[in-house]
Subunit: 556 residues, 2 copies
């Protein structure tokens, strides 16, 4: 009899359960639960409390409903006997965090806090804590905090202590009432096992923790706000558990929700992007994983600790135990093309696509694919949503240069794709120059499946071979792999993520490699990109920031 | 009984006759003759001779057919007695030139030259003589020719001697067979009067002639090509007649074509843009006329000779006798918006416009008009078709900066309008700084009628009052005014263009003036524009040229 594991991937709009054959990695079934409250960004669910702009909340009960609906469904539909499911792993968006009582009850589930926005889950894309992030960065720089270097010199408004500080600033009663503050990732594992654990991935990437130095010192928190001095000991935990461990076994209650057997092994929580790395076959240095969707997350392992300017962060044991996991990213990739299609494609193209029974993206890909490299004369800076790596600057904006009266939509579309490829190359070269080797790329996520032109352009621009993950749902597969590791070999699983990856993770046969002629032309265009990148991105011309400031002033 | 004059405006696609009441300037009727061969840019009319890219020819018979069709039609439809029409004036695109025999017969009308492209009329937008223009500029710089300064340091491939040199280079037999080389403007006047005359406007602006220095010296022409040494004496004429003179009277033959009386006064030829100046009421320094269509031509009079960097040229007596006529221009204005509408407006906008029974430009104007100044955060460099003034560089290309995922089409549309306004302000300030005062703007052409938002943006950006010509067909009105001057006061016309302008030219009552709040925000955005303009336009970053070079290489 085969043994199976379930991975549950908690996304922005829904939760997804995937049941995987432990021996082969074969995905036996998938079930998706769309969150009943989705993203809460206008008003709280029951009652008329309206939210400020940039807020994004979730209802923690939607996560439990994912266990109650998607897991039984995938068991039912795959026809697998629950007693053959030996492990479960979860991954989550991050930093997605919430305040709870000592017993794990979310504050928003208590009647007295139900209409208090700060009592709810703050989703990763809650962007209202920018003033707090600014304060954290300013204070850390002033105090010379060494951990700042691990995050490219700047932490994001999306991260744990920016969100924590916003709660304290704006609703100190919620802060006061919260016995625990934690990642939703760890909270759902707590709900499954009855045990509160904290994973090294979110702690390291989102909460300024490191294996060697722990959390920032008390003096730093005190400088931010005296009430925050003991936040770690009061509301978090100094016990951080490395990725790849067993968090516990399923409680009777959780077994009832899921239809699995009590005691089934549950893995320590993980983050959606990071858990995709072993699912893309990568458990060693040198091969960068690109998770390509609306934005792109780039991850690479290193044997040594290196400070790489402009990355999002690095964490020891953060992705694969025993390695430093380095993370970088581009904030506008699929979003870029979606914006273009929605705002810049003329009616004639829509009609042509309709007539030919094509998706508009397909039509644009076909037209753009017929262009020779360089023939449009266009070049873009891919900063429509700021620049995450390597400039770490949300105030940068998009630029297009080279337009003429003969410029066609597909030329602009291709220039936007190329711009993201150039941006990627800068990230890769920055890693390489700073002692983190990269010799191959592995792509996963929605884009590589859909857009072969994009993959070829990346290969031509970057000059490294690109392979593609065989799974279309790498995060859930990765979580299932960690579920198998949590179960262990004795139970029919694996003793390490390396073994699990060897058997369960697969790549497609195809490899994208550079066309030498295209590569030669892209070398010249890339030289122009780098000049513009540095000119507008490193302070020589702050037009983007000045225009953004004017925009903010006139919108007041 | 009233007296009347007819102005005939020879455009790119058609000829237009307007019959005007000399006392009031009232336009009594208009008739348009669409050229049967239009712009010849793919193959010669009869026979399969294909043209190279960038060629643009016309058939001179189309000009005569304009006299034969449009003039009788406007007489008929207005019901005016031909004996009350005392003058006729014409204006033409320029430089539009042709080779003819000594009796005026165009070479392309001779059977032996009918299938030779160089025997036809080269239209203003024939752009295939760039190598010849480069040679002229290079040689003039090498030889230190002083006239180069009058044209902003560079002459265009569109101009007379570039086209002449191309004929000599590529078809020396046509050059040899041509007894005369002349502007189509002068050729149609010759056809009307039987007398070959040469006007000061095209000679000055397009053929490097000046009242004080004449044409370039023989040594210069010889250096270009020994066969060109005596081109002026052999194929042109040193007798250049100032604008505002009488060329002659209508011949019997031309009277037959037009239905006018033999002997009717015919004015010296003029250029469409330049003749619009007095028709826009401007016969004195300080008031710049902007002729706003697909591109924009800016004209201002000065009492003194000034070298202004980056203008298209200046000519004494070139626009109004007694003044230096300064000309500058922007190569992409209406074209800019047309490009945007064709290539960048999504289907949803087309549907909305259709539903609301609006033109798509109107819808965009409405949406763009609701935006506050600066709220889009966008800024463009209006170089989609190069930069005519003040950078005189066809290799510059368009740039858009400040795009985000929230950027809407109407924001880009408005940014393109603003970019042309910023470009205009640079032109105006360059004139002002170099001793050519400007204190008011007068707009004419198609755009001011159609786009009030654009006019207000210009007023806000530039800070000068803008008035609009009352006539929708200023060139034809201007030609009719010169027709009335050719007739003279004794015949019921006028003795000078000043008098004619006083009675016949009118402005609308509305004046666009700056909104102070908008102006303040535009000051800040303009500062950013100037920085980008100089950075990309003056050699600090030649990305535009490098990309264009790559484009040319890969398209080979």
């Amino acid at each position: 009899m085969g043994k199976y594991s379930i991975g549950v991937d908690f996304g922005t709009e829904s939760g997804r359960a995937v049941l995987v054959d432990i021996a082969s990695g074969r995905e036996m079934g998938t079930a998706v639960y769309p969150y009943s409250h989705g993203v809460i960004d206008e008003q709280l669910p029951d009652g008329g409390v309206r939210l400020e702009p940039d807020w994004a909340l979730q209802d923690p009960q939607d996560y439990l409903r994912t266990f109650q609906n998607a897991v039984p469904q995938v068991l039912r539909e795959s026809g697998i006997d629950p007693s053959d499911v030996i492990g479960i792993g979860i991954d989550f968006t991050a930093c997605t965090m919430l305040p709870v009582k000592a017993d794990g009850t979310p504050l928003c589930d208590l009647p007295e806090f139900r209409n208090r926005p700060h009592a709810w889950v703050k989703l990763w894309k809650h962007h209202a804590a920018q003033p707090e992030a600014d304060r954290i960065n300013h204070t850390a720089r002033e105090m010379g905090e060494s951990w700042l270097d691990r995050y490219g010199g700047k932490i994001s408004s999306e991260w744990f202590f920016a969100k924590t500080l916003q709660i304290l600033d704006e609703d100190p009663q919620v802060y006061e009432a919260a016995d625990r503050l934690l990642e939703a990732a760890d909270w759902v594992v707590w709900q499954l096992t009855g045990v509160e654990t904290r994973n090294s991935c979110t702690a390291g990437y989102k909460a300024m923790w490191s294996k060697r130095e722990g959390f920032p010192r008390k003096e730093f928190f005190k400088a931010l706000d005296p009430r925050l001095e003991n936040v770690i000991d009061e509301k978090l935990s100094r016990k951080i558990i490395p990725i790849g461990q067993r968090a516990g076994g399923l409680t009777e209650q959780a077994a009832g929700w899921t239809g699995l057997k009590p005691g089934t092994a549950v893995a320590i929580a993980n983050v959606d992007a990071h858990v995709a790395v072993p699912a893309a076959t990568v458990t060693e240095p040198g091969r960068m994983v690109m998770i390509m969707g609306t934005s792109t997350c780039d991850m690479v392992l290193g044997s040594e600790e290196r400070i790489v300017p402009g990355m999002c962060g690095y964490t020891e044991d953060g992705i694969i135990p025993g390695f430093f996991g380095y993370e970088a990213g581009q904030s506008c990739v699929g979003d870029h093309f979606a914006w273009f299609v929605e705002n810049c494609v003329p009616a004639a193209y829509d009609e042509e696509a309709k007539k030919r029974g094509m998706d508009i993206h397909q039509l644009l890909e076909e037209k753009a694919g017929k262009l020779k490299v360089g023939e449009s004369g266009l070049l873009a800076l891919d900063w429509w949503n700021g620049n995450r790596s390597v400039l770490v600057d949300v105030d940068l904006t998009g630029l297009l240069i080279g337009a003429t009266l003969a410029t066609k939509p597909e030329e602009i579309y291709r220039a936007l794709i190329e711009a993201t490829a150039f941006g990627k190359r800068i990230i890769i070269e920055t890693f390489q120059k700073n002692g983190v080797p990269i010799h191959e790329l592995v792509a996963c996520g929605g884009l590589p499946e859909k857009n072969k032109l994009l993959m070829q352009i990346y290969a031509d621009v970057i000059g490294l071979p690109i392979r593609v993950s065989a799974s279309k749902q790498t995060p859930a597969l990765g979580s299932a792999m960690f579920g198998a590791v949590a179960a262990g070999k004795a139970q029919g699983g694996y003793d390490s993520i390396y073994e699990a990856a060897r058997e369960m993770a697969h790549l497609k046969a195809e490899v994208y490699t550079a066309n030498k002629a295209n590569q030669a032309v892209y070398e010249k265009i890339y030289a122009e990109y780098v000049l513009l990148h540095d000119y507008f991105g490193r302070g020589a011309n702050d037009a983007m920031k000045h225009l953004k400031k004017i925009k903010a002033e006139v919108r007041k």
